[in-house]
């Protein structure tokens, strides 16, 4: 994936190819609209179920509720011993700290790889790429033992501290690719003026890298917000639960009794991600197109 990909993904499609009859394009639009509807139907149904009267949830396959009622949200919010306010707060704290950690630590490492010359750099760069390939399952158990010995289980530390040690190598890679595209003349001019590497990093690289920093920040936030496995292992006390763990507890404790409340809280848990989708879609799509991210 090259830089050319990044500019071409947002460019208008080539108009010279495949000019087709009006009927053909009506058919294609009909197929695409039908597919879009089928894709979104379960999501829309869930949102609509969250504002329906309880007795209507299972009887109706339509998307339009007969009356709008937010009782499910109130019931769901207080549906467990600890409220979803607490879970949401915990999720926000972990996600925000993760974003800060990833942006700082990964950009530091990326700057070293992209711009500084030091013994063993290529070796460490290869190691860094290697860590991207290894499934986290091989480090999982010793890491757990380590954090258990440190007394960190049931705190947010095992989820947050590794991010300040640049444990998400993927973001280092993303930033290295971007830093390489910044003209080296800028660094060299600054060096001539007596700037050291720290000032170049802080005054030149970071301000010029806002798009990639934003992409890394947004993906960090979304992945952390959605993360289930990490909190499942490290957070056992309900007061420390994230919103994802709260939902899991909810579905296990009340799977047949309160679907309304469950859907209300599920819908709520999707709001932050949906917000990023609405306002930063271009960054997200370019990020995927240029790096081949999995999600």
């Amino acid at each position: 994936m090259t830089d050319a990909t990044m500019s071409s993904i947002t460019a208008p499609p080539p108009s010279t190819v495949n000019r087709r009859s009006p009927l053909g394009s009506v058919l294609i639009h009909a197929a695409l609209i039908a597919a879009s509807f089928a894709m979104l139907y379960p999501l829309l149904w869930m949102v609509s179920a969250s504002v329906r009267p309880e007795d209507e949830i299972f009887s109706s396959t339509t998307l339009w509720p007969s009356s709008v009622d937010f009782a499910s949200y109130v019931r769901g919010w207080f549906g467990l011993d600890v409220s979803f306010g607490r879970f949401t707060w915990n999720s926000v704290v972990i996600a925000v700290l993760t974003v800060v950690g990833n942006v700082i630590a990964c950009s530091l490492a990326a700057y070293a790889f992209a711009r500084l010359r030091f013994a063993g750099r290529n070796f460490w760069f290869a190691m860094m790429l290697g860590t991207m390939m290894i499934p986290y399952h091989v480090t999982l158990i010793p890491q757990y033992v380590l954090f258990l010995d440190l007394g960190w289980v049931n705190t947010i530390l095992p989820l947050v501290v590794p991010k300040f040690l640049a444990s998400d190598a993927f973001f280092i890679f993303l930033m290295v690719q971007f830093f390489r595209g910044i003209p080296r003349e800028l660094d060299e001019a600054a060096m001539m003026d007596g700037c050291g590497p720290w000032r170049i990093y802080w005054k030149i690289m970071l301000p010029l890298s806002l798009p990639v920093l934003a992409t890394a920040a947004i993906f960090s936030f979304i992945w952390t917000w959605d993360d289930f496995f990490g909190p499942l292992i490290y957070l056992n006390d309900m007061n420390t639960y994230t919103i994802q763990l709260g939902l899991r507890t909810f579905v296990d404790s009340s799977s047949t009794s309160d679907w309304g409340g469950l859907f209300a809280m599920s819908t709520l848990s999707l709001v932050p991600v949906f917000f990023f989708f609405l306002f930063f879609q271009r960054l997200l799509i370019e990020g995927i197109a240029t790096t081949g991210m999995k999600r």
Partner: protein
Amino acid sequence: MAAVQDSAIAVGRGAKARPAAQGRFAALWTNHGAGYMFLLPWLVGFFGLTLGPAVASLYLSFTSFDLIRSPEWVGTANYVRIATADPKFAASLKVTFLYVALSVPFKLAFALFVAILLDRGVKGLTAYRAIFYLPSLLGGSVAIAVLWRQLFAGDGLINSLLAQFGIEGPSWISHPDYSIWTLVVLSVWQFGSPMIIFLAGLRQIPTDMYEAASLDGASKFRQFYKITLPLLTPVIFFNAVVQTIEAFKAFTPAFIISGGTGGPINSTLFYTLYLYQEAFGNFRMGYASALAWILVLIIGLFTAFSFLTSRYWVHYDD
């Protein structure tokens, strides 16, 4: 990934422009120091959270360890038991392979099909692309797994829809023959990100190739078969490898839909779910470490195999 290798080589020029007054020795020394200062957080993480734990996990895989007593060396006993006397391991491997073999081809075929449809100068491309991408973005969350659990339940939405056509559907999630399919459908539903990568790849194909082919009288189908598909093989290869590795590592949907059990009758017992149960349900940390290394081995072998066979079907510019 070729670009990655290039970058490692290409980054080495920065130090030349140091102020001459400081001299060559000083310049190099400063840069060594600065390089390692910038790299310090990552280095601590690399040794403390990746390399150290990986070595420890390899050691633990030859022990019996329950978190309370210290690890006890058992030689290859864990691996022998996995290979010969663990029906749950065999079941989880079967489920995982089945999931990979079903979800990846369907997902990629769908992604490619829609990408080709969108690439043909359709108006409203960005809107369609956004809509198709949305499930990919939301799909990893517990909320979507919860929704899926309802959709495919006995009294769920899918059966309500089928009932309107007079079809009485089973409880999909609690039937051992169908439960894996609900997870496959969930995976295919998230075809958005490979679709975006396919779209980017399609844009790289020069339009004059199609024009030349049209002039020579090649049909649309022949153009697809002779131009689009061969030129897209590197992207197909990339997507296939990434999606397969992700499918091997899938966890959350199976955990939520089966309530953490992998049931009914182990039919959704993903490998990672079994590993989780052994480690954090039964606290067999040594055994789970052995399971983890076998997963690495499987993924490694698969990746090596893909790269070895790729030369026979992936088209690179020469």
